[in-house]
């Protein structure tokens, strides 16, 4: 079935005119019909609009346009509900935006359209990207395609589940503390978080502006490389995007990683296969099966010619606290605009203050409120120096840790998530336990570097995907893609499908 193809395979077939974009798009829509009642990855989608785009793509193909010109021509790609697409709802998994329809395209959506993609669907997420399970969505709970009683990870749980359930060919997500990599790991697909500044944030509804980055989900590494190439680049509408040339990412997938040096952070509790790691950061948190799968992957990478080097990231223990100060501080301001005055849902009040509190009281969920309150607190007069300012200093140290490490190694290797997918509701009442799910992903955002999660095995029972994470230097996406691709192509994991999908 066409919806099961990788992006690379679909492009090849479209290019050979063996299939049409309409057929591929229809196959995705059919799959949504078939499985999304159980998965619940999509908040909404406009089938007619998707088919109209597909028809336009088929015309473009018929008129001689090639994938050399438009690399995603005819490929259905679904979008996390936090990225603006003109004429489509933009809810950020929240009630507070009401019936808001975006009047503009995010830069990434413009770029996808320019590259010929069929941009469709609004993928479920934790409200305003705050969460690690997608349970904080105001719309629905998304279910892990490998076990419907489990969470898909988050906050881009809808994106990961939709790709793994073959409801779309690829998807966009956003990653503020692991929101792409962690659900990719828990659902068993490829999730790429680019370096800060690599991809324009214009049109991404901000959670934490200095940490947010748009990235992509794919069924294999090459797919992610192709999408990354299409959405990257400096944008005059985003002052934090960086004028760094966009490399030909798919060309970096040589399969050859001989001599590459991969760093193993001693603080992450892993050792070379067999040896015991010391683990202050994740003591007790790292699941033995995850640990074992990652250690076997290390061995495999060594066999492929990579050299494993122990490195140190001494400020690891401070990452979660630092993150929750900076992210919530920025969020408290970023979410202030949702006030019921200009757009979105409104609960009337006798005066503006009452209108604000009623609107926001009714519109935001518990986790969002918790973070707004935290962020407001850490910025308050008298607390700013002790919290926000100190967190910024620690952030600099964490970034320094990585930059020093990258003087010795080409990439860093570690688990993506300390455990496989947990049960829906299991951690819902314990936000701190939930925050610990991001232990291996969060530092990457603080440091502004890039990271990718790829499948590296399964737990024994139930069979749940395990993710391997590769971290690269700022703008070092080519290296992590190359390592990820070499690993993927020499292992079977990416070929496994959840029973539901087929």
């Amino acid at each position: 079935m066409l919806n099961q193809l990788t992006l690379t395979e679909l492009v090849a077939r479209l290019a050979r005119r063996e299939v049409s974009s309409r057929e591929a798009t229809q196959a995705c829509l059919d799959q949504i019909q078939r499985v999304d009642g159980q998965i619940r990855a999509f908040i909404s989608y406009d089938a007619a609009d998707a088919m109209a785009q597909a028809e336009a793509a088929d015309k473009a193909l018929a008129s001689g346009q090639t994938h050399a010109q438009r690399p995603l021509l005819g490929v259905p790609i679904a979008i996390k509900d936090v990225i603006a697409a003109k004429g489509q709802p933009l809810n950020c998994g929240s009630k507070i935006l009401g019936n808001f329809i975006s009047p503009y395209d995010a830069t990434v959506v413009e770029k996808l359209k320019a590259a010929g993609a069929i941009v469709f669907g609004r993928l479920n997420m934790d409200e305003f990207a705050m969460g690690s399970s997608t349970e904080n969505s105001a719309f629905q709970v998304t279910h892990n395609p490998w076990d419907l009683s489990r969470i898909p990870g988050g906050s881009s749980g809808g994106s990961a589940a939709a790709v793994v359930a073959d409801e779309c060919i690829a998807a966009l997500g956003s990653d503020t503390g692991g929101s792409i990599r962690q659900p990719a790991a828990l659902c068993g697909c490829v999730g790429l978080k680019p370096s800060y500044g690599r991809v324009s944030r214009y049109g991404l509804v901000a959670f934490a502006s200095s940490l947010d980055q748009i990235g992509c989900f794919g069924k294999q590494v090459r797919d992610a490389a192709i999408v990354l190439k299409a959405i990257s680049g400096v944008d005059h509408r985003d002052s934090t995007s960086v004028p760094q040339p966009v490399p030909d990412y798919p060309a970096a997938l040589t399969g050859d990683i001989k001599g590459l040096r991969l760093g193993l952070p001693k603080e992450y509790g892993l050792g070379s296969p067999g040896s015991a790691g010391v683990s202050p950061a994740s003591a007790g948190g790292l699941d033995p099966e995850v640990k074992q799968a990652v250690e076997v992957a290390l061995k495999h990478l060594q066999n492929l010619g990579a050299e494993i080097v122990e490195i140190s990231l001494p400020h690891t223990d401070y990452a979660i606290a630092t993150y929750y100060i900076i992210a919530t501080a920025e969020a408290s301001a970023n979410l202030a605009r949702f006030d019921g005055i200009r757009y979105g849902a409104r609960v009337a009040g006798a005066d503006p203050i009452e209108l604000y509190s009623k609107t926001r009281g009714a519109g935001f969920g518990a986790e969002v409120k918790r973070r707004i309150i935290l962020g407001t607190y850490v910025l308050s007069s008298g607390y700013y120096d002790a919290y926000y300012l100190r967190a910024q200093k620690v952030r600099t140290l964490i970034r320094q840790d990585f930059l020093s490490a990258f003087e010795k190694v080409d990439a860093i290797i570690c688990p993506t998530s300390p455990t496989a997918a947990f049960k829906i509701g299991e951690k819902a009442d314990d936000p701190l336990q939930m925050y610990l799910m991001d232990i291996f992903t969060i530092s990457v955002n603080l440091a502004g570097i890039c990271g990718i999660s790829i499948p590296c095995g399964f737990t024994a029972w139930p069979k749940l995907p395990i993710g391997l994470q590769l971290l690269g230097k700022p703008f070092g996406e080519e290296t992590i893609l190359r390592v990820a691709h070499a690993y993927e192509q020499s292992t079977p994991w990416h070929k496994e499908k959840p029973p539901l999908a087929s």
Partner: protein
């Protein structure tokens, strides 16, 4: 006990840019509500700001005009508070790293030069405007995101009128430098005032009271005229003042308390993560410094000093800068710069106003004015004729000498010819001639006028007077 006031001003000025601070929308007053808006200035979900370069340049330029230093590192911050006219419910401003710091402004006050220290000038964004109707309210976001500069003074002002003069001097500089039009009718300037009073001779300051959001300089003066005596009265009657914020009620002519310190806003400033810190390069600073103009006061004083002009003329050349430049282009060669100034102001400017033209349209070369003055000084033409020559110069662009020659306008100093005109005038006007003889000396002016008329203005008026007087007196002696 005598009291004195200590006043500092925070002046908000809209910058003269084509577009808004973070987006491409027009920075233009008076359009229908919500027509100069886009996703960015409406604060829609997902948008990002991009700083307007020209606004950064104008702020730096203001810093240079106010003798400030321009720090090598400036940044933007978010100031958090909820208000319906604020699209994002935070205002992007420069909190602790402003674009310009520590300068001063000099202005004429009480016949001497006053100097007020400038703490800082920083850049921020304006907010929308709320409107209240019978049954509901609305917000116009055309103004939201217009570049706004805040200039903060040290508490160096001591009276309402001094504050007023400071504001006018500041406005002159900003208008002069092309930084802002400072049109108060259009709300381009707004002030917050910090005022306290203390017993004369006391060094520590009294409780600081802020009066918010006045949109005219006269409003500031009136508010201070009310507030200073009010504070003194409180102290005199044994009361205590506490740090607070007040509102000026213009129609009522009073200030009233809005909130005290304990209810002060906590704005929770933090660095704006969507914008990079601003670190001006040498080349950028060089470009801005090329736009520095001579300050109005400096120009006025220089014109008075270098050209011995009366203050009023110097001021005219300050206000009308092109006219002043025109004057300067000939003043250095002028024997009497004052005379040249008179011609430029009273004749050239008047003619341009009359004909609705500008300096660019003037047909003659500037030194022609000096030639014209020379012709009068040398007695070649009378001042009266000079007016006609100027009119001709203005309309045709020919040189004054050529016009005098072509039209035969040279002054007649030939005694024989003037004697003939005098005889004719006396003969034709026996009445006034008799009056003069009877002792009414004023009648001579009438007869002189007749001679000028007969000579078509060319007779040398002094010579005509002499001859007339001689002839009339001679008549008296002979008994004619």
């Amino acid at each position: 006990m005598d009291y004195e006031a200590v006043i500092g001003l925070e002046t908000h000025v809209q910058l003269k840019t084509k577009s808004k601070m973070w987006c491409g929308c027009a920075n233009e007053f008076g359009a229908p509500p919500n027509t100069h808006v886009c996703p960015v200035c409406l604060g829609l979900p997902g948008v990002l700001p991009v700083a307007n370069e020209e606004a950064l340049r104008l702020t730096a330029l203001t810093g240079l005009l106010l003798n400030c230093s321009l720090p090598p590192y400036a940044k933007f911050d978010r100031k958090n508070y909820f208000y319906p006219d604020m699209p994002k419910n935070y205002q992007v401003t420069q909190y602790d790293k402003p674009s310009a710091v520590t300068g001063y402004l000099e202005f004429e006050f009480n016949d001497s030069l006053a100097r007020v220290r400038i703490t800082r000038a920083h850049l921020e964004e304006d907010v929308g405007k709320n409107f209240h109707f019978d049954r509901n309210s609305g917000v116009d976001f055309n103004r939201a995101g217009v570049p706004l500069m805040e200039i903060v003074s040290e508490p160096d002002l001591t009276s309402a009128v001094m504050a007023y003069e400071y504001l006018n001097a500041l406005k002159d500089i900003l208008v002069y430098g092309g930084v802002s039009d400072c049109d108060m009718e259009k709300g381009m300037v707004r002030c917050d005032v910090n005022v306290s009073v203390r017993p004369k001779g006391q060094s520590e300051l009294g409780a600081k009271i802020e009066i918010k959001n006045m949109n005219s300089f006269s409003g500031v003066r009136k508010a201070l005229d009310y507030e200073i005596p009010r504070q003194i009265e409180v102290l005199k009657s044994g009361g205590k003042l506490i740090q607070s914020t007040r509102r000026w009620d213009d129609p009522a002519g009073i200030t009233e308390e809005m909130r005290t310190k304990e209810f002060a806003h906590d704005y929770r400033y933090f660095p704006e993560p969507d914008l990079m810190p601003f670190q001006p390069t040498e080349a950028w600073l060089e470009e801005v410094s090329r736009r520095v103009i001579e300050l109005p006061l400096a120009r006025k004083r220089r014109f008075i000093r270098d050209y011995q002009l009366p203050a009023a003329d110097a001021q005219t050349f300050v206000w009308d800068r092109p006219l002043g430049d025109y004057f300067e282009s000939i003043a250095k060669q002028a024997k009497s710069p004052k005379a040249a100034a008179n011609w430029v102001i009273n004749n050239l400017r008047a003619k341009m106003t009359e004909s609705g033209t500008t300096l660019a349209d003037v047909k003659f070369q500037p030194p022609a004015i000096l030639e014209l003055i020379e012709l009068v000084e040398n007695g070649k033409i009378s001042s009266r004729i000079a007016q006609d020559v100027f009119t001709e110069m203005f309309s045709a662009g020919e040189s004054p000498a050529k016009i005098v020659e072509k039209k035969g306008l040279a002054q007649v100093s030939d005694t024989a010819a003037i004697e003939k005109f005098c005889d004719e005038a006396i003969a034709a006007n026996p009445g006034p001639a008799a009056d003069f003889r009877a002792g009414k000396t004023a009648a001579l002016n009438f007869l002189k006028g007749q001679v000028m008329k007969l000579s078509k203005g060319k007779a040398n008026p002094a010579l005509a007077g002499e001859i007339l007087e001689r002839k009339l007196k001679a008549g008296m002696e002979t008994g004619n």
